[in-house]
């Protein structure tokens, strides 16, 4: 009786369904029939029905009602029914189901069945889904089978033992004695299982590992036998005799030889033999070689052997098979720190792999290349990396750019080379660099004082050519503003002289200001640069005056504020203009926040003691202002930020710095205020700390309903000039009955001291329904901003 006929008929019918709805209808009908069938007395149909149910289960439909049927069928004396019953158990029952315990007794009986195929079913099922209790119950049986049965059963029992140990580690001792004797078996299946079992035992217990070290000679002999044996068709795969067994033995040897000289010595010759004799033209051989290399690198092998291993990896790099190239690079990546020189020898091939078609290979080649950069090869490597950057896939660009910057920072042969490299990256991939690149580059430029002229010329030319790469444009604007006088002088040793007029420069900056491609931050740079030029040029100051006054009515709040302040600098405070805008001193290489603190004392003010109506922020060096603005502007465009932000950008760290620097008031413990309460879900807000411009609050959500709520997320929106950062929430499930809560910290940076409001959207699912609600928080549990003395916007 083949149960398949009726099963196949059902499969055919299901497949003929033209829509999902039709399929569902058919399945419902079938399931009803199956259920009815299960309820009937035995008529030889049960195994068909279960098979049909298993098919339906694979399509993704629920099949729990079949669980008890599996239990019943496993207990049947008929092989067909047992077989399908056990299959059902493996598919429908796992240790989480109660029904799984019910089959323990059947398994126990079947383990001693007269037919080895029935025993096999029981062993396989136990090894697949046996829970800890089942394993504990049946472990003695398995141990018995390990010692006194046919090879067929032994090999399965061994792997079953492996599963038992993984589930119940204490039982490892039970199997240790038998494991050792299994190594003398001739049957490859049993041997393979034995090696897996011993590996498992050694990985779990250091003492056992010690004991099994004595087995190294035996393992070496077995391995030698495999490597040098004459052709054995039964286990041959592409010329390799039983690569599965070879690989497992090599892996066990690795564990036994690790950190142990005598064991490593004992396997030295063998490893050399395998490494040299194995034919790697097909995957099987390469798999064995690969495992050999891993073993050599992980034990205390002599240096000659290690070089041999690295050379194998080098050969792999030249292999036609992409998989082997990929494997080789992952392995080289693991050893590039410890065996740096050996890997360096293959640098050429690795760099060639940057040109591979496959993105995974490219990525590995990139990581390796970056790891291989050294003071000796920096120039040639950088050339290759820059070529790679211009043509690499989009997903790798940011990683490449960061890698290049790191390498440049560590090994650049000269400042000019360093600046050139960064400029090259910004021109090629300016959109993919991290935010701190701009202040870092600016800082680097200021330190290279002999190169100011060269730098500003280069940047000016880049700016004129293309204003789409924001980072580049920002740096260029800053430099032009700062070193505009050098630009206008025209001569520079390192570049062919080109006459640049004041109008040209102002044109360039105005283009940036007016272009729709420029981000708000970039326009801020351009405006400030234009202003700075007012003390560095002679003829066109009026033009600057008019630009500045035009932007006094710009819609963008930030630009408007700057323009108004600069306007004031032209009018009321003209006597201070030169001092305010003069060339900046060297900046310390610190985070942007620290730069604020360091340099504010270095401005030459005519009367530092007198309180000025001009705000300190404007007086502090324009670069800091630039850095501040960069940071502060970095997030204001997007008022709504989702709450899960574990990958927060670099801009957010600086707001934390600002928080520290502005010296925070003593956090007064303020109680949590409830801002939202509906349907049993409530949200409280609590102020953690507060300074002039920053406030940190924690939102606390709790749930007093009968059921847990899940997928709980908060989203927040704030007024435009306020910067919001939400830390990752403590979780997204809130236990019922008020037993749990979710907290989420929110940092708010309010430099303009606007009236602080926050709109919070709460969403969660309660028993399957998604719910959403919005609450507006108009006052925060702390003194409001508006009562603070304004530091003064002009």
């Amino acid at each position: 009786m083949t149960p398949s006929v009726r099963l196949q008929e059902m499969i055919r019918v299901i497949r003929s369904a033209r829509t999902q709805g039709e399929e569902r209808g058919i399945i419902q009908k079938e399931c009803a029939e199956i259920r009815a069938q299960f309820r009937q007395t035995d008529n030889g149909e049960r195994s068909h029905s279960l098979a049909k149910l298993l098919y339906v289960h694979m399509l993704g439909y629920p099949a729990h009602f079949g669980q008890m049927e599996c239990v019943r069928l496993i207990a049947s004396p008929r092989y067909s029914e047992k077989r399908i019953g056990y299959l059902g158990a493996m598919m429908l029952l796992d240790e989480k189901q109660d029904a799984s315990l019910l089959i323990t007794n059947s398994i126990k009986n079947d383990l001693s069945h007269s037919s080895q195929y029935v025993q096999s079913l029981a062993l396989c099922t136990l090894a697949c889904m046996g829970s800890s209790e089942m394993c504990r119950d049946l472990a003695p049986e398995i141990e018995r089978l390990l010692r006194a049965s046919t090879s067929y059963i032994k090999k399965k029992a061994t792997l079953c033992a492996v599963h038992i140990i993984r589930k119940v580690p204490e039982l490892a001792e039970l199997f240790t004695p038998s494991a050792r004797s299994l190594l003398s078996e001739k049957n490859h299946g049993v041997l393979h299982g034995a090696v897996v079992l011993i590996t498992e035992l050694c990985e779990r217990n250091a003492e056992t590992l010690d004991k099994f070290r004595k087995a190294v000679p035996e393992l070496v002999t077995i391995m030698k036998g495999l490597v040098t044996s004459s052709y054995s068709p039964e286990h041959n795969v592409a010329g390799i005799s039983d690569p599965f067994l070879q690989v497992r033995i090599l892996r066990l040897l690795r564990i036994l030889g690790h950190n142990n000289d005598s064991a490593s010595d004992a396997m030295n010759d063998l490893l050399a033999q395998v490494a040299t004799n194995t034919d790697s033209s097909k995957t099987a051989g390469s798999a064995v070689l690969y495992e050999t290399v891993l073993t050599i690198m992980d034990i205390n092998s002599e240096s000659g052997l290690r070089v041999l291993a690295v050379n194998i990896l080098g050969r792999f790099l030249l292999n036609n098979d992409r998989n082997i190239r990929y494997i080789s690079m992952t392995s080289l990546q693991k050893i590039v720190q410890t065996d740096h020189n050996a890997v360096q020898r293959h640098r050429g091939t690795i760099v060639d792999c940057l040109k591979d078609q496959d993105t995974s290979v490219k990525r590995r080649a990139l990581e390796l290349s970056l790891a291989l950069v050294s003071p000796v090869n920096i120039r040639s490597m950088m050339k290759e990396l820059l070529i790679f950057l211009s043509s690499c896939p989009v997903e790798l660009r940011s990683q490449t750019a960061s890698g290049i910057f790191n390498a440049a920072e560590r090994y650049s042969p000269s400042k000019r080379w360093h600046i050139d490299t960064i400029l090259h990256v910004l021109t090629t991939a300016g959109g993919d660099v991290r935010d701190e690149t701009v202040p870092n580059l600016i800082q680097l430029i200021t330190t290279a004082s002999e190169l100011h002229c060269y730098t500003v010329h280069k940047l000016y030319r880049a700016l004129v050519k293309d204003i789409s790469q924001q980072s580049l444009v920002q740096v260029a604007c800053w430099c032009i503003g700062e070193y505009g006088d050098l630009l206008l002088k025209g001569e520079c040793e390192e570049i062919e002289p080109v006459q640049v007029t004041e109008d040209d420069v102002l044109d360039a900056l105005e283009t940036v200001l007016q272009s729709h491609m420029s981000a708000p931050a970039t326009r801020g740079f351009a405006l400030t640069a234009t202003m700075k030029l007012s003390t560095r040029i002679t003829d066109n100051v009026d033009r600057i005056r008019s630009i500045v006054s035009i932007y006094g009515s710009c819609i963008d709040l930030e630009l408007q504020q700057r323009a108004v302040e600069y306007n004031a600098l032209f009018k009321k405070y003209d006597h201070m203009r030169a001092a305010v805008l003069e060339r900046m001193p060297l900046m310390e290489k610190n985070s942007p926040g620290h730069t604020n603190g360091d340099s504010s004392g270095e401005i030459k003010e005519p009367e530092p003691a007198k309180t000025k109506p001009v705000e300190p922020i404007l007086l502090s060096e324009p670069a800091n202002q630039v850095c501040d603005l960069l940071d502060l502007l970095g997030g204001t465009d997007t008022p709504v930020q989702p709450s899960s932000a574990p990958t927060s950008t670099a801009t957010t760290t600086s707001s934390a710095d600002l928080l520290d620097l502005l010296g925070g008031l003593e956090p007064t413990p303020v109680p949590a205020v409830t801002v939202y309460e509906k349907n049993g879900v409530s949200l409280k807000i609590q102020c953690d700390s507060q300074t002039d411009t920053d406030i940190t609050v924690t939102l606390i959500a709790s749930n007093s309903t009968q059921n847990d709520i899940s997928n709980f997320t908060l989203q927040a929106a704030v007024p435009k000039s306020v910067q919001l950062q939400m830390k990752a929430p403590s979780g997204n499930v809130i236990a019922a009955h008020g037993l749990g809560q979710v907290t989420q910290t929110v940092l708010l940076n309010n430099p303009n001291k606007v009236s602080l409001k926050m709109r919070v959207r709460v969403s969660y699912s309660d028993q399957g329904t998604m719910l959403q609600d919005t609450v507006q928080i108009d006052s925060f549990p702390s003194p409001s901003w508006n009562s603070q003395p304004s530091i003064g916007v002009l």
Binding site: V162, G193, L245, S360
Partner: protein, 163 residues
């Protein structure tokens, strides 16, 4: 970050799916809820199906290494631990395909659709608990044949006592 729970096994799961993303076989060597299993299947299927044809057969995914290979219209895909040998896994997948081929004679996807339970039986003779149990192809093929012969005929079926 949600992930497949570690089990210390060579393979955590083996999946077969068609080029349209329909699941044809799923063998799990680790304990997971049905929901998690379905999510993994969805994610992996999408990822593997979007790979270009000549791409590398290895993919890092969460904390696992994914090894996959396409045979005609079926993708054979398994999830490995970090320590496992990907190249050997390709040979394991190949061996399984050879066994299916030997049993069905020029196996194609339809064979596996209409005889899915046989595909599982064959797999269970080759791999147990995520580990290879028999490295001789002939041995496995013989065991499958012999087990098949135990499947009862109708008379035998009805003559056996009910439990």
């Amino acid at each position: 970050m949600w992930t497949v729970p570690p089990s210390g096994k060579q393979m955590r799961f083996l999946l077969l799916f068609s080029r349209q993303g329909k699941l044809r076989l799923q063998k799990w060597f680790t304990v997971l809820s049905d929901r998690d299993k379905r999510k993994i299947i969805r994610d992996l299927t999408q990822m593997v199906l979007s790979r270009p044809p000549k791409a590398c057969n290895f993919l890092p995914w969460r904390d696992l290494k994914i090894v996959y290979r396409r045979y005609a219209s079926l993708y054979f895909c398994c999830g490995l631990e970090q320590d496992d040998n990907e190249l050997l896994t390709l040979d394991i997948l190949h061996r399984y395909v050879e066994l299916l081929d030997q049993y069905f004679g020029n196996v194609c996807e339809l064979d596996i659709i209409f005889n899915f339970e046989k595909a599982y039986f064959i797999l269970d003779e080759f791999v147990i608990g995520g580990e290879v149990q028999e490295t001789s192809k002939a041995s496995v093929a013989k065991s499958i044949e012999e087990a098949e012969s135990l499947q009862e005929t109708m008379e035998e079926y009805l003559s056996k006592p009910t439990y």
